[in-house]
């Protein structure tokens, strides 16, 4: 994958260590490299809470060239959904919504996945309450 080519077309792209960092237009970038570089598998999407914003890492793989690529984008509370490009993203996006509270625009199926339906808060966020009184095994539990 040629980083300069991406730079020419989409502008703000840079190579940070081994990943391609984009500022915006994530959908367009993924669509472009899917069609032009035969990256046909989205292995996973990883979310990392950095405090001020959340970093999303898209791990792509090409079965033709056996090549890996990582696309990174920093988002606040909303991101573009890529389920039109990769159906597997439906699973990843739902998990990230459940754990980080990121809304993926274009994905209608977002719901609480591992947590109960009426749960408040997103557990993998760094500001998530640590001493949760809703948990039955907490000594100060509401349900004790």
């Amino acid at each position: 994958m040629d980083i300069n080519e991406l730079k020419d077309i989409f502008g703000e792209c840079e190579l940070c260590q081994d990943k391609v960092c984009v500022k915006s237009k994530l959908y367009e970038v993924l669509e472009y490299i899917k069609n032009n570089y035969s990256f046909n598998v989205l292995k996973s999407i990883t979310a990392v809470d950095l405090g001020s914003d959340v970093e999303l890492l898209y791990r792509l793989f090409s079965t033709e060239d056996e090549e890996n690529a990582v696309i990174s984008i920093k988002v606040q509370n909303e991101a573009d959904s890529v389920i039109d490009l990769f159906e597997s993203a439906r699973a990843d996006e739902n998990e990230i919504y459940d754990m980080f509270g990121i809304k993926f625009i274009g994905n209608e199926d977002l719901k609480r996945l591992y947590m109960p339906e009426n749960w408040e808060g997103f557990p993998l966020r760094k500001d998530y309450v640590q001493d949760d009184t809703r948990l039955a095994w907490n000594d100060n539990s509401d349900n004790a």
Partner: protein, 364 residues
């Protein structure tokens, strides 16, 4: 869309053939499935959240529980990531030990799948045969590690102690091919089995790739992608990835049988290497003062249920800042949305079973 003529049916979460607690919300028109909505999370233990509050050595025993049928693979992933971050190369003998045990674990996992899959289809005896053979492997692990399923045997920089009882492994790989022939005689060309699996749950390669399906399920759809080919751990080991063109449930069954045979080959080579190289030395990484250098680490492995990977972000503390698991089954569950549509209800279990979904791995 619900109309007066369709019916919503809950399959699970306590259905005996969902192997854990998976709930599928099916919409039926008569017996035909119109849509499928998987609901997971009944087994969620917060493996990723837990990691953020534990040191690496505290976390190591818990990772076997991600997939209780193939615990070794997840230990190996965490160990190799830590070793990579600390710049440690494991010695040859440790590598041979790990490959041998991983492949034994893979066989145990596939055997359980064969038994359980046939039981889903209504054939009870293969389950007992498969469990009998799997028991040999579990007994061996019990003898070696003291545990039948959660081995906690791999540690950072090596293994807990040197491998023993190689003659037991040789016994197992001597018996297994005969037993596999027996299975093939009973199952592979059985008319009822063929009717339940041939042409059912056809998974086209492009669909499989789009849904991020990996491992045996992908190779049974004709795509040659086996991580072991490029894995450094398997360097010097010879095997042929199993690739079948069938794309259906039957092909996925056959691929697993063939994969067990390939694993036997790998174990044979592993045992030979262990006999040649008896020099047991470990690389010592002090677990009590273990801090990964600041940065991001990623590794992946070919687990029995597809690609498994781990991502660790470290800020230089003794605990990970963020740890993420990628497991094969999670994507297989997502695939059910597509694969079950248009099939009949009585095939739903056979198709879902053929993907080898294990729920603790889905829910993490």
């Amino acid at each position: 869309m619900i109309t007066a003529t369709t019916l919503k049916l809950n399959l699970g979460p306590q259905h005996p053939s969902t192997h854990g607690v998976l709930r599928l919300l099916l919409e039926l028109d008569g017996e035909k499935i119109l849509s499928c909505e998987p609901d997971v999370g009944y087994l969620h233990r917060g493996m990723e959240k837990m990691a953020e509050g534990m040191t690496y050595i505290q976390y190591l025993p818990t990772v076997d529980r991600i997939d209780y049928l193939a615990g070794c693979f997840y230990s190996e992933l965490l160990c190799r990531t830590v070793e990579g971050a600390m710049g440690v190369n494991i010695p040859e003998r440790i590598r041979a030990i790990r490959v041998t045990l991983l492949e034994l674990n893979r066989i145990a996992s596939h055997l359980l799948w064969i038994g359980a899959f046939l039981m889903d289809l209504g054939a009870l005896s293969p389950f007992f045969y498969a469990m009998r053979e799997r028991e040999m492997i579990l007994r061996y692990f019990e003898k070696l590690t003291g545990q039948r399923m959660m081995y906690n045997y791999f540690v950072f920089g090596g293994v807990r102690k040197d491998i023993e009882y190689l003659e037991d492994i040789e016994e197992i790989i001597k018996i297994l091919p005969y037993k596999l022939n027996d299975y093939e005689k009973i199952i592979t060309d059985n008319l009822i089995f063929l009717q339940r699996t041939k042409g059912k749950g056809v998974l086209e390669p492009t669909t499989a790739l789009n849904y991020s399906i990996t491992g045996v399920n992908l190779r049974a759809s004709g795509v040659e992608y086996d991580l072991r080919k490029t894995d450094k751990l398997y360097e010097g080991f010879e095997f042929t990835p199993v690739v079948l063109e069938g794309k259906d449930s039957w092909a996925r069954y056959k691929a697993r049988i063939l994969e067990i045979k390939e694993s036997i080959k790998l174990i044979e080579q592993g045992v030979n290497k262990l006999k040649e190289n008896t020099n047991f030395e470990q690389k010592h990484i002090n677990p009590l003062n273990l801090k990964l250098p600041e940065g991001e680490y990623y590794s992946e492995i070919e687990a029995p249920r597809g690609l498994a990977s781990i991502y660790i972000k470290s800020t230089g503390e003794d605990k990970p800042y963020r740890l993420k698991w990628r497991t094969g089954s999670y994507y297989s569950v997502n695939l059910l949305r597509k694969l079950l549509v248009g099939e009949y209800l009585n095939d739903a279990i056979a198709i879902a079973g053929s993907l080898d979904i294990i729920l603790p791995e889905v829910d993490k």
